[in-house]
Symmetry: C2
Subunit: 214 residues, 2 copies
């Protein structure tokens, strides 16, 4: 890993934090305050644009603080079903509505990631990519949907479900990266960082991940 380069996660999501920790890299968290407004019609454009907005917001903050050696990771996740893009539900009713669409069908989960790198006096270096995962859900009864929404779990999740949570019992199969559905495509991210030369020692895996308290 680069000497004094700090890795900064531009997200307050506990899921992303957990996944980055799993990658065994040291990082700190500086949540973006960029608005998450969905304007584009194509989900891959939405998530890439929002991930870039988040990374921009945080790299601006860092530069204002006089930092000049960082790698910011911005990420955004949406669910897409038959042309409809689903972010986080605004109400329990909306959560039930989203799950009624998704149950018994196959939908797509898109996560966009932007890496914004600043090394010394060099200009900012930008890399944006996305991953898509197909998710097939078993049919759910109306009561199952209501009971699940009543747990509160869906309320801060794109598409109103957590594949890694209580919704696991309703997931039939996926095609793609599982962690992409959770919120961060860990495999692809690691490979991109490796390509960029930020994983020269194949990660000090033995040290395991640790989050720097900030």
């Amino acid at each position: 890993m680069e000497g004094n380069l700090q890795i900064v996660l531009a997200s307050a999501s506990p899921r992303r934090k957990e996944l980055l920790t799993q990658m065994a890299i040291s990082y700190r968290i500086l949540p973006s305050s960029a608005d998450e407004i969905i304007e584009d019609r194509k989900p891959e454009q939405v998530v890439q644009r929002l991930s870039r907005l988040k990374a921009t917001d945080v790299s601006d903050k860092l530069q204002q603080q006089g930092e000049n050696n960082f790698l910011v990771i911005g990420a955004d996740t949406v669910v897409s079903y038959q042309g409809r893009i689903m972010g986080k539900p605004g109400s329990e009713k909306e959560a039930c509505d989203m799950l009624s669409c998704l149950q018994g069908n196959t939908h797509q989960v898109y996560t966009g990631v932007t890496l914004c790198i600043k090394i010394g006096k060099n200009e900012l270096d930008w890399h944006t990519f996305y991953e898509k995962t197909d998710v097939s859900m078993y049919p759910m009864t109306e009561k199952e949907i209501q009971d699940y929404v009543a747990t509160g779990e869906p309320m801060d999740k794109a598409g109103a479900y957590a594949i890694q949570g209580l919704c696991a019992v309703y997931i039939q199969r996926i095609s793609g990266d599982y962690n992409n559905v959770v919120g961060l495509p860990v495999g692809r991210l690691y490979q991109e960082l490796k390509k960029l030369g930020f994983m020269p020692e194949a990660v000090s895996l033995a040290e395991c991940g640790k989050e720097i308290q900030s």
Copy 2:
């Protein structure tokens, strides 16, 4: 859920325990002492037979204890790559060897599950099924393999890796149930239990899962 029916997990695996807890059902653990000897040539036969052996061992124990109201869950997982069946590695060398085969390629993970049900004076009722998941790994360098094996994580895992652990960075994509790779096909298991009438109230999800201390 049936009144006094106790659900018993015939496995000491912390991963299976965690997954069953995620299903929000109450259960206790009684590990099987059946030998895990791989005799069959087809992976789906191996895992189904071993899951049945485990469930048999534990249901025998329960009956000897005078229990007559139980549902035992036995499970077994293997990795299969080009006709070679991989269980847990016997040594670090074998772990490196397994990972050298799997890296850069697509392999299959099979988990067999047996449900053994005893309700009052009725005879034992058996249900066995399996799930298959395809897993594609990114290429790994020799150093990456050695570093990963040095973490110790691979040593008690079929195929010498944990998809939910530090190996996540090397997973490109999967097709099938993710939890099947971890060790228990949570979605399928829930659907089977539902079919058998053991989930009549769509799970008291709101109560969340709890393990009964045994």
